[in-house]
């Protein structure tokens, strides 16, 4: 009984594999959508970020000014700092504020009417920056304007001290320098962290169609009931279907890793001081540490699809389920953590930390790899057991 029954799983596996390979929808979502869409979105995102960073440093920024007539030296100083001051654009402060609120102007400057007089008399001369701090595109112009103003103020202050015979450094007890120790690769991590997210997503997407087709799809099409009258233990039916789903997910992951390795070469990462290189050996390691996630994905999608009543319902619930596994990664992006053994017990998070380590070129701890694989496969096994339970119940057909 046992010898022939384990063959039952193989028979189901082979049939589901052939069936799914002949289903265009499954193949397209496994080998095209997930694996290629991810890198493409990623490439667009990165190019956008890089282009913006490069642009914003090199190019002049427009700053509308109200009341600039009384501060000619300041205006010409700003102009030399690649800040194009514009005196005529807005007649009064209200118009300027409204334009900034609407986003028509990113940042504006208001010079107090008594600015020149205050400056001459030694009283603080007032300037207002008008900005919308919630507008992320205004962040760079704002900081450039701020630092230009501060620098100009410091220069005037230093002159005043010098006129009074005081060393300007008296007022500057600190000289703070910045030493950025992040390596070019490590800087790339911030962006490449997104890569793990796309890899996990591609993996799930790659086999979800198969999981649906082989469970609720089979049931809806009326092929399940005759199958259940055959002398094959139900768990072997489930194992066969699970294995087919796993193979699709693993294939999808392989294509995704490969397309990332290619995409990274074409990204202008060097322009912003990053290097990202994914040699074949690293790609293989990434694939291997990610592979257990395909077991989890297969188990998860199988259990979700097998508990739904039809194709449509299965698609709804699997798309919801697809969002859950990568969630821990988002938490880590918001609140970075260092790889440690307890974190390796959290599926998806552990893959993220391991892959990040591999890309950084830091290498990974063998114990960590093992803990990640065991916990992830165990989670997948739970899904498989729940599916077996479902297949043992007559509710599957009612």
């Amino acid at each position: 009984m046992d010898g022939s029954s384990s063959r039952g799983a193989t028979v189901v596996f082979r049939k589901e594999l052939i069936d799914s390979l002949r289903e265009r929808r499954s193949v397209v979502s496994a080998l095209v959508f997930g694996p290629l869409l991810g890198p493409i979105m990623f490439a667009i995102l990165i190019s956008f970020v890089v282009a913006r960073q490069v642009d914003e440093i090199a190019q002049p920024i427009d700053v509308p000014v109200v009341g600039g007539e009384g501060a000619e030296n300041l205006m010409s100083y700003l102009y030399r700092r690649l800040i194009d001051v514009d005196h005529d654009r807005f007649a009064d402060v209200e118009a300027l504020r409204e334009a900034v609120r609407r986003g028509d102007a990113k940042v504006g400057l208001v010079v107090a009417e008594d600015f020149g007089q205050a400056l001459r008399s030694g009283a603080p001369a007032r300037l207002w920056i008008v900005a919308d701090e919630s507008n992320s595109t205004a962040r760079v112009p704002l900081s450039r304007l701020r630092s230009a103003l501060a620098e100009y103020g410091r220069a005037i202050g230093a002159n005043r001290l010098r006129l009074r015979g005081i060393d300007p450094f008296v007022g500057r007890p600190f000289a703070v320098l910045m030493d950025d120790v992040s390596t070019p690769s490590a800087r790339a991590i911030l962006l490449l962290g997104m890569m793990t997210y796309f890899l996990l997503f591609s993996t799930l997407l790659g086999g979800t169609q198969v999981a649906i087709d082989t469970t609720s799809g089979e049931r809806e099409r009326g092929s399940l009931e005759p199958l259940l009258t055959l002398p094959v233990p139900r768990r072997l039916l489930v194992f066969g279907k699970l294995a087919a789903t796993f193979v699709f997910m693993a294939a999808s992951l392989a294509v995704a890793v490969a397309s990332f390795a290619v995409a990274v070469r074409f990204l202008p990462l060097a322009k912003i001081g990053m290097t990202a290189n994914l040699p074949l050996a690293v790609c293989i390691q990434i694939y291997l540490v990610m592979l257990p996630f395909a077991v989890l994905g297969a188990g998860l999608m199988m259990v979700v699809a097998s508990y739904t009543k039809n194709f449509r319902e299965a698609q709804t619930y699997t798309s919801i389920a697809m969002v859950v596994p990568p969630l821990p990664i988002l938490l880590v992006v918001l609140n970075p953590i260092q790889p440690s053994a307890p974190w390796m017990l959290v599926p998806s998070l552990s893959q993220h930390l391991l892959v990040t380590g591999l890309i950084k070129g830091e290498g990974v701890d063998a114990i960590h790899v093992l803990a990640s694989a065991v916990s992830t496969v165990a989670a997948g096994a739970l899904g498989a057991l729940a599916t077996v339970r479902r297949y043992g119940s007559e509710k599957l057909l009612i």
Partner: protein, 252 residues
């Protein structure tokens, strides 16, 4: 040989089967007749081991279905209600899949069994085509071929002629009769009196989850006091004639 005694099954508030008793003998075609919702499919599904009865016993070839479902599955060929084949597989692959799952492990043995049922159903012309574009008649024939591939001694067919045209229905009847001559026990459900009368040796009329009347067509005419079979069927459903006790004596 199928024996059903006091079989009951409830789905939530609906009593689908209420102490149903009937039997089906080897070498005979037994028709399970009743309107939609009478409990035909539920009874057949319990016999196919995909549902469990709440009470009562159901035996196939002397084996209690609840006690040893695998032994029962080994000897039954099943055509469930609205069953379908796999559209992405060819007719031959569909049949070979079931042959493999029935334990026909050796390739030559499996090919032989598949060829045998393809010939039996006369579907040589479509054997190599994918089932996606098949007509209802072609699909049913492939499904029937696949349920016969392990040479079962008991056949359970749930409304197999649904949606079939005259020629396809006749072809199906021929195969069922041929199986009867081979000594199979055949249980065949339908909601059409003429259908059952044309094919079955004995008829069990099921209404609202219980057996209303059972026997040969003549027995039923006599019990309902109707010459016309359709009238007899309607009266059997209406008047709740009650089980005559006759049908358990399978040999008669």
């Amino acid at each position: 040989m199928i024996e059903v005694e006091n079989l009951s099954k409830r789905f939530g508030k609906v009593q689908a089967l209420n102490a149903v008793r009937f039997a089906a003998a080897d070498g005979q075609i037994t028709g399970l007749l009743g309107p939609n919702g009478a409990g035909k499919s539920t009874a057949l599904r319990i016999l196919c081991t995909v549902l469990r009865a709440d009470a009562g016993t159901a035996r196939v070839g002397g084996v209690e279905v609840g006690a040893d479902p695998v032994a029962v599955r080994n000897r039954i060929g099943v055509l469930p209600h609205d069953s379908n084949v796999y559209g992405n597989l060819t007719a031959r692959e569909n049949i070979a899949y079931y042959a493999a799952l029935q334990g026909l492990d050796r390739k030559a043995e499996r090919a032989h069994a598949v060829d045998r049922v393809i010939a039996m159903l006369g579907i040589e012309d479509i054997a190599g085509r994918r089932a996606k574009g098949f007509s209802q008649g072609q699909r049913i024939r492939v499904a029937l071929a696949r349920s016969l591939v392990h040479d079962p001694d008991t056949l359970i067919l749930d409304e197999p002629t649904n949606g079939l045209d005259v020629m396809a229905t006749r072809a199906l009847r021929d195969v069922v009769r041929e199986r009867r001559e081979a000594g199979c026990c055949i249980l065949f459900s339908s909601h059409i009196m003429q259908e059952v009368a044309a094919l079955c040796d004995r008829i069990v009329i099921l209404a609202a989850g219980t057996v209303s009347v059972a026997g040969t067509t003549d027995d039923i005419r006599a019990a309902t006091d109707c010459e016309d079979l359709e009238d007899a069927f309607v009266r059997a459903l209406d008047s709740g004639i009650g089980w005559t006790g006759e049908e358990v004596a399978v040999g008669r």
